[in-house]
């Protein structure tokens, strides 16, 4: 007895392998896009170009300047000679911040008075300006503490307990606080939603456009056989994608991987099955490839990008956005992927997510199979 599913799988596999565009879209594009985004999508603020307008030109003002340029956060671009130059430097974007030290900086400090130091920050990117202000405040506080301890030591006072409460911050899971460690696993999730589901969304509607769909309509083949036969090759293709992207994050981006590869792979397989299923549902319901593509973009890709927790954590979204994130599979896999990558959490921790994705897969395939009518119209 011959198996119809195997026949359909064999046919689909041959068609994909012989179509260079499909193959590129399935394998090459996700890897290229992840590489590009991984290199470009860095949110860390480091090496900010900074300039100084030092009106004092004293040893103390120079020391103050050193305290900035000695940190890895600021990079000295130059000194301004007057206020118009300060203006120009900020306008042209050569520097993101200018520190203006007043003429009586050291005189006042030595006299024990407060000195106002002006910091001009380019606020065209609000989040970056915030970070810059934070850095400035921290460096300033450090400088003050140094001055104070010097002053106290001069006057023979004990300096040991100058700051009774001191914060000792330790960041877990991503100790160096590098965004790539959370962004790259995020891309893995998004890419697996994008391209495999796009290809799957074309796979049945393409046959409707060509007329080959009648081969299924007019033969005794069962509906589940068609859906399963179409899904399996594309799930296989997406699994290859997964392995490639995983290797890319580990070896090219050197993302820390602390968890179990087996658990991550199992989760990825389940997630991929959902994504392909969603694509098939679209393919079953549409009549033209263009419609299928547009619907995939709008209904699968965009929400996965916005509501999966890729950029903003789900917990900090408003309730309606949280509702949306709960019905897209990418949110579940996003949590799992990041958790397994960075926290090394095991299977038992993710049982509820596995269950959620399983239910999702079951529902999606049920819709695809019942939606596939062996009739016109």
């Amino acid at each position: 007895m011959r198996s119809r599913i195997l026949a359909i799988i064999r046919k689909e596999t041959r068609e994909v392998l012989r179509d260079p565009i499909y193959l590129a879209l399935a394998i090459v594009v996700p890897v290229v896009i992840t590489s590009l985004l991984g290199l470009g999508f860095v949110l860390d603020v480091k090496n900010l170009p900074v300039a100084f307008y030092d009106q004092d030109r004293s040893p103390l003002s120079r020391e103050y300047i050193y305290s900035f340029t000695n940190s890895e956060y600021f990079r000295l671009v130059g000194f301004a000679q007057d206020l118009t130059e300060v203006d120009r430097m900020l306008q042209t974007g050569r520097v993101r911040a200018v520190v203006v030290i007043p003429p009586d900086f050291s005189r006042k400090l030595h006299g024990g008075k407060r000195v106002p130091v002006q910091v001009l920050v380019d606020g065209s990117f609000a989040s970056r300006a915030l970070i810059v202000s934070g850095y400035v405040a921290a460096i300033d506080a450090q400088f003050n503490a140094q001055l104070l301890s010097g002053y106290l030591a001069q006057h023979g006072m004990v300096t040991a307990n100058m700051a009774p409460v001191s914060v000792q911050g330790r960041v877990w899971y991503n100790p160096s606080l590098e965004t790539k460690n959370s962004i790259v696993p995020g891309f893995l999730v998004i890419m697996l939603m994008f391209y495999p589901s796009l290809l799957a969304s074309l796979v049945i509607v393409r046959e409707k456009e060509r007329g080959t769909i009648f081969n299924f309509y007019c033969s005794p083949v069962a509906r589940w056989e068609v859906v399963a036969g179409k899904a399996v090759p594309y799930i296989g293709l997406a699994v290859i994608d997964y392995f490639l992207l995983f290797a890319l994050s580990l070896y090219a981006f050197k993302v820390e991987f602390t968890g179990s590869f087996l658990v991550l792979t199992a989760a990825a397989l389940l997630y991929i099955t959902c994504c392909i299923g969603l694509g098939l549902v679209i393919s079953v319901l549409c009549r033209t490839q263009i419609a299928a593509m547009l619907i995939t973009f709008v209904s699968l890709m965009t929400p996965s990008m916005l509501f999966s927790g890729m950029i903003t954590p789900i917990a900090s979204m408003d309730p309606s956005a949280q509702m949306i994130s709960r019905v897209i599979p990418a949110s579940y896999f996003m949590g799992m992927a990041r958790g397994i990558f960075l926290k090394g959490l095991g299977f038992t921790f993710y049982i509820s997510d596995f269950a959620a994705l399983s239910v999702f897969a079951a529902v999606v395939y049920a819709i695809a199979i019942t939606g596939f009518r062996k009739r016109l119209g």
Partner: protein
């Protein structure tokens, strides 16, 4: 026929859309097909053929009516029917997967049907032999020619030995030789396994290949029965007249009361008349036209179709152009040694051609013969690899800009803007060509477009659309008009009107018309025909000259009747191995008709065949074409 029909359709209804946009595709259609019968649904595009076949294949719901296939109720249990049938959708190889090879396609269909290996091997070998596709098993479907694709599509449909075969326009656009193969396969499987075949076609000349036919028009069956019995329903008499000068003769004929209808086919005028042909002839002579020949003729299926659809006398359109200044040339179209190749593939192979001014020239050939490539080069859209082309005296593509002003082009697909009204479309085209509306406003009435002026082009009936396209193509009074399959699939009545317009353009305005087509029906309207095959022009002459040349070379065609047919054929094969079955008739080509007629009758009588009859019948354009292809192939090889 057997008592229990294999296919039974009773009062089927199907409509699409709702309210004002509602289209009744199938209206009260009933017919039965018995075991071992070939039943043809014959009608123009949009008549409802596809819908009927899809209902019977269980993929389209009928809104009313009953349908049984192989004893199963299609409408309530469509899945039961699907194990019995083989269905081939419309389009050249529409059921094939392009990137799979011939072999992989066949195997996919085997697996879909879970066919046991033994039956598969036997059937596969047989089908490959009949289709001669054996040597191409490893070739991908996308690299097959149109005819080969369609034969592979047929193999895939038949591989699981279905008892009921539903074929939707299986022969449209297929080259004549593949078409012949195709019919031979159908005939053989019907004969050997008594399968039941329901097929649709818009070629009226294929009716004779079927045991019984139904003529479909606007969703209704207007006649049903054997091809012979339907042709027998024709009322009135038909005749062919050749007279000089033809336009005057045509005008005179239209004025004669006894002449019910006229139509020009090249140099012949076909008429339907009442009373006496001699009287009509005399009347023509009186009006100073010289009648070279007039002979009564048997009506064709198309004549019957026209009578059944509408029997009203129709006005005759006439198109007069204020012909623009043009460089005078006696041969507005001239090709010298034109070649066009795409990589290794030679699409147009060394073509020499001259078309006289005012001539209607037809390029006849199957899909892929090179017709479109040649026309594209004539329009200056494609550069020839070698050779020269002159259009209206201008060399293309060198002098393309000046030539374009002299070229009108009407494509096979409706290329006007569907969401503009008729008036807006005309306005747009006249602006594009910089023509004042006064120059063509007098053409709106004769084309019958007045009443449609404010309708959207997309809502027009097919025939009206075609006339609108024609008007847009000739607005700028071109010297040369290119028509790409202008009436393929159009109903006979609209086709007839259209050709009358073309005739008037050619004879009265002196426009040179070049038509490309794979429809033999269209070919007969041309003054001269160029037969194209695999990029070469294998013959160019008037349709009747081509037919008589073929008759001279390969013999007259005899149609032989008798019963039982199978025994008659066996008897004939003892003396004439080349005799072939053609529907319910045996065809035989002979170079000595007088002698062979007697010999045929003697053979049939000796075999005890009842009612043996032999007729000399005119050669069809299809047969003529095949003969030329085979002769050209023999000399080429």
């Amino acid at each position: 026929m057997n008592a229990q029909p294999v296919i039974e359709a009773r009062s089927l209804y199907r409509s699409y859309g709702r309210w004002r946009k509602k289209v009744n595709a199938v209206r009260n259609i009933s017919f039965e097909v018995g075991r071992g019968e070939i039943f043809g649904l014959i009608g123009p595009d949009g008549a409802g053929k596809t819908s009927v076949i899809q209902i019977l294949a269980g993929v389209l719901r009928a809104q009313r009516g009953v349908a049984f296939v192989g004893g199963s109720d299609v409408l309530s249990h469509p899945e039961a029917v699907k194990t019995l049938i083989g269905y081939m959708p419309q389009g050249l190889g529409a059921n094939l997967y392009e990137s799979l090879t011939v072999e992989e396609n066949i195997e996919f269909f085997r697996d879909l049907r879970k066919l046991p290996d033994e039956a598969f091997q036997k059937n596969r070998a047989e089908l490959l032999k009949m289709t001669r596709l054996g040597p191409f098993l490893q070739r991908r479907a996308k690299n097959l020619s149109g005819g080969m694709r369609q034969k592979l599509a047929l193999i895939c449909t038949l591989i699981h030995l279905p008892n009921v075969i539903l074929l939707d326009e299986p022969t449209t656009g297929v080259d004549p030789i593949s078409r012949q193969d195709f019919w031979e396969i159908i005939r053989r499987i019907v004969e050997e396994r008594q399968v039941t075949v329901l097929l649709s076609t818009s070629y009226m000349d294929e009716a004779e290949r079927c045991h019984r036919i139904a003529l479909i028009h606007a969703g209704e069956i207007i006649a049903q029965g054997t091809p012979e019995s339907i042709v027998g329903q024709a009322s009135g008499q038909y005749a062919t007249i050749r007279a000089d000068p033809q336009p005057a003769a045509l005008n005179a004929l239209r004025g004669i009361k006894e002449v019910l209808s006229t139509q020009v086919f090249g140099e012949e005028i076909h008429i339907r008349y009442e009373g006496n042909l001699e009287e009509i002839e005399k009347e023509l002579m009186r009006q100073a036209t010289f009648v070279r020949q007039s002979s009564p003729q048997a009506p064709t299926l198309e004549d019957v179709f026209l009578q059944l659809v509408s029997d009203t006398a129709r006005r005759s359109p006439s198109l007069h152009f204020a012909t623009a200044h043009r460089r005078d040339s006696d041969f507005p179209i001239e090709c010298r040694g034109v070649v066009r190749s795409f990589g290794d593939f030679v699409a147009v192979d060394n073509i020499d051609l001259r078309v006289r001014r005012g001539e209607i020239f037809g390029l006849l050939g199957p899909n892929g013969a090179g017709k479109t490539t040649l026309i594209k080069m004539m329009c200056g859209l494609l550069e020839p690899s070698a050779g020269t082309i002159l259009v209206a005296g201008f060399e293309v593509p060198k002098d393309k800009d000046r030539a374009t002003a002299q070229i009108g082009y009407m494509s096979q697909h409706f290329s006007l803007y569907r969401d503009l009204t008729v008036r807006q479309n005309l306005r747009l085209y006249s602006d594009l060509y910089d023509v004042e509306s006064a120059k063509f406003s007098h053409l709106i009435d004769p084309l019958g477009l007045r009443e449609f002026e404010s309708r959207l082009a997309g809502d027009l009936p097919v025939g009206v659309r075609q006339r609108l396209s024609l008007l847009c193509a000739v607005l700028h009074a071109p010297a040369v008009l290119f028509l790409d399959e202008p009436t393929s699939g159009v109903d006979p009545q609209a086709r007839r009107t259209f050709w009358e317009l073309i005739y008037s353009l050619s004879r009265e305005s002196g426009i040179t018309v070049l038509v490309s087509t794979h429809y033999m029906d269209e070919a007969n309207h041309c003054d001269r025909l160029g037969l194209m095959d695999q990029g070469r022009l294998i013959a160019a002459a008037s349709p009747s000259a081509l037919k008589s040349e073929s008759e001279r070379r390969s013999g007259r065609l005899l149609a032989i009747y008798g019963s039982p047919l199978r025994m008659a054929l066996d008897a004939l094969h003892t003396g004439f191995p080349s005799a072939t079955l053609y529907g319910d008739v045996i065809h035989l080509r002979t170079l000595d008709p007088q002698f062979d007629e007697q010999k045929v009758l003697a053979l049939l009588n000796r075999a005890g065949i009842r009612e043996p009859r032999v007729h000399r019948v005119p050669l069809s354009m299809d047969d003529t074409f095949i003969d030329f292809i085979q002769t050209a192939g023999a000399s080429h090889a």
